[in-house]
């Protein structure tokens, strides 16, 4: 095998120009594949972090409460006991938070819009504090200054609200201004409450337009709910890879504790109102979902991006395959006598195939390794230089102002392995043809 690798390597080096060009093409495809996968992973990570902070836990222990069989409210009663149960019995737990959920109209002096109302206990919101950045006044107010006004911790105070920049712009409000929240109740009336703007955060992608943040107690006040009621217990894990395992564990745990569980439904809670409303039961049922259920559109977005990457890389790989086959055809033609000689002195067909496959594999591995190194350097440069995403639409999509490329070691190994394998497989047919050459024909080949 060592001799074959030596022959393969030496033959590659002997035709430097031809193989260099092909090697560069393979390296470029590798670099592109790894960079695109890294970009996808970077976006996914950013979106996941933002989305799981803004609107979902890794796992959500939520549910519906029905006073009558025809109405459904997204509430969990007796949540303190349930949260204690979850906190004490969940493996891989990082932390839990409790959030009220509501829906209503946010009204300023000049305009209004509908938005989700997220109730928070700001002291327990580790993730929210990490992800949100308060915006300077100039971001949301014409003629504003660089001053960052307000404080997230002020959400401890009752009847306060935190908005995002786009919301503040639309409402034309600043920190300290008053807003009115009007929320319809299950009884068919709308309750209103005045709240004071205590913080305005930078937008976190398109999801930041969907909801405002107020203290949990403010949501309870609007809906006139008791202290022991919440919207969802959001569970955050120290290892998200254990999601499925922990979710199954929680389902068993909650059921064992005597709670009624809803059937698994991989949809966000707000899409279940109609179905739950039509079901013939009253009282409390617990619904356990994960972040993918609650923000499934994100998985779809990421999958679409990955699919596009796959299609693009597939096209490039086909071009590389054509290049490899063409190069090997030339090599076989040039080395027909050599093949004949080897066969004459006792090399079996398999060895001839192996020799050409190795040649492709050596070229493939060397090129993909260089391509992978280039991709890592590209990723490092992009991440350290903070490349700003030029399109606002793309910023909304990525939930970030700057590009972030996350090149995982397994992505590098996968890409190098895949492209080396593909390059080698492209050589299968030429190698087979080379092995099939009759020694007598090959020895006397002229050309």
């Amino acid at each position: 095998m060592g001799q074959l690798i030596l022959i393969a390597t030496q033959n590659l080096l002997q035709h430097k120009r031809r193989n260099l060009l092909l090697g560069i093409a393979i390296a470029l495809v590798t670099a592109m594949l790894i960079t695109l996968l890294g970009l996808s992973a970077g976006i996914e990570t950013t979106m996941l972090r933002s989305a799981t902070t803004l609107s979902s836990g890794h796992i959500n222990v939520a549910g519906f409460y029905k006073v009558t069989s025809g109405s459904a409210a997204p509430l969990v009663t007796g949540h303190k006991e349930l949260e204690r149960l979850v906190r004490e019995n969940t493996p891989h737990l990082d932390y839990t938070i409790s959030r009220m959920r509501g829906w209503g109209k946010v009204i300023s002096d000049t305009t209004s819009f509908q938005a989700g109302i997220n109730g928070v206990d700001i002291d327990t919101e580790r993730g929210l504090k990490n992800v949100l950045r308060l915006a300077p006044q100039k971001d949301y107010k014409p003629g504003g200054t660089e001053e960052i006004r307000g404080n997230l911790d002020n959400l401890r105070e009752p009847n306060t609200v935190m908005l995002f920049v786009e919301q503040a712009k639309r409402l034309e409000v600043d920190v300290g201004d008053q807003l009115t929240i009007s929320a319809p109740t299950p009884r068919g009336v709308s309750n209103t409450l005045s709240v004071s703007v205590v913080a305005i955060a930078k937008d976190v992608g398109f999801m930041s337009g969907w909801g405002i943040f107020v203290p949990n107690q403010t949501v309870r006040d609007i809906y006139q709910l008791t202290e022991d009621t919440t919207g969802a217990i959001m569970v955050y894990l120290d290892d998200i890879a254990k999601l499925e395992e922990v979710e199954n564990h929680l389902r068993q745990l909650v059921a064992k504790a005597g709670h009624r569980l809803m059937e698994k439904d991989s949809n966000p809670f707000w899409m279940k109102f109609e179905r739950v409303g039509n079901e013939d039961w009253i009282g409390q049922k617990i619904d356990i979902t994960n972040w993918e259920d609650e923000i499934s559109f994100m998985s779809w977005t990421i999958q679409s991006f990955d699919a596009l990457t796959g299609i693009l890389v597939m096209i490039l790989m086909i071009l590389v395959a054509v290049g490899i086959m063409n190069t090997l055809w030339i090599a076989i033609r040039e080395r027909t006598r050599e093949i004949g000689t080897m066969r004459a002195i006792g090399a079996q067909k398999g060895m001839i195939s192996k020799m050409f496959l190795l040649e492709a594999a050596v070229l493939g591995f060397a090129s993909t390794a260089i391509g992978a190194l280039a991709a890592v350097l590209i990723a490092y440069s992009i991440n350290t230089s903070g490349v700003v995403i030029p399109s606002e639409a793309f910023q909304l999509f990525t939930m970030s102002e700057t590009l972030h490329v996350l090149v995982r070691p397994q992505t590098v190994v996968f890409s190098v392995g895949l492209l080396t394998m593909f390059t080698t497989l492209s050589a299968l047919y030429p190698a087979y043809r080379a092995a099939k050459l009759k020694p007598i024909t090959a020895i006397h080949h002229v050309g």
């Binding site: 001799q3 030596l6 030496q10 050599e338 000689t341 066969r343 004459a344 006792g346 007598i440």
Partner: protein
Amino acid sequence: MNAIVTLNEVVKEYRLGSVVVPAVRGVTLAIDTGEFLSIAGPSGSGKTTLLNLIGCVDTATRGTVTVDGQNTATLSERALTDLRLHKLGFIFQSFNLIGVLNVFQNVEFPLLLLGNVSKVERTRRVEKIIEQVGLSEHIRHRPNELSGGQRQRVAIARALVTNPRIVLADEPTANLDSVTGDKIIQLMKHMNDNQDTTFIFSTHDPKVTRYADRVIRLKDGQIDDENGVPAKPLAVSA
């Protein structure tokens, strides 16, 4: 003496479109172990075809070729390749060395194909045979750094390194000047004298044939009994 190669009424025809071209026409021949045999004749007389048939790189259209007791017509392609590897050595007119390997690696190559020779043993045998052909100083040189005569010496070393029973040489001096050609034939004869290896070489150069124990002259694909040493009668085994 025992015949190591026998040919019995061997015919080889090539088909060029609808035309059948006979290259060898009913050759019957026995070659003894240790012979230094020359197959002579003009271009197109069938020398190379005959060598290819004996060397198992081609098969006869009719007749029987037996090499070291094995009827080559009954062997599979894999078995023929094994036979070539274990029993035969080849020396080509154009040397046919592997250009990207140096002298040592070229000579070592058949031993690697054998698969069961240790690295130490390979090194010992390769260095010994390279010394015998007088190329120890060029052991790390590539073929393109050697003269024609030196390349043919490498080819001889490669053919002999596995201790084959038969070495086939197709016009080994054709691409060499007469002095170098002479030296190559002398080297082959020297190897033949010192080892029990049968050498069968083709040539159209009358000066080269004088070293042969026996000369088989071919003309139009047949043995020309009138102008050469007649073929030995075929030993028919029971």
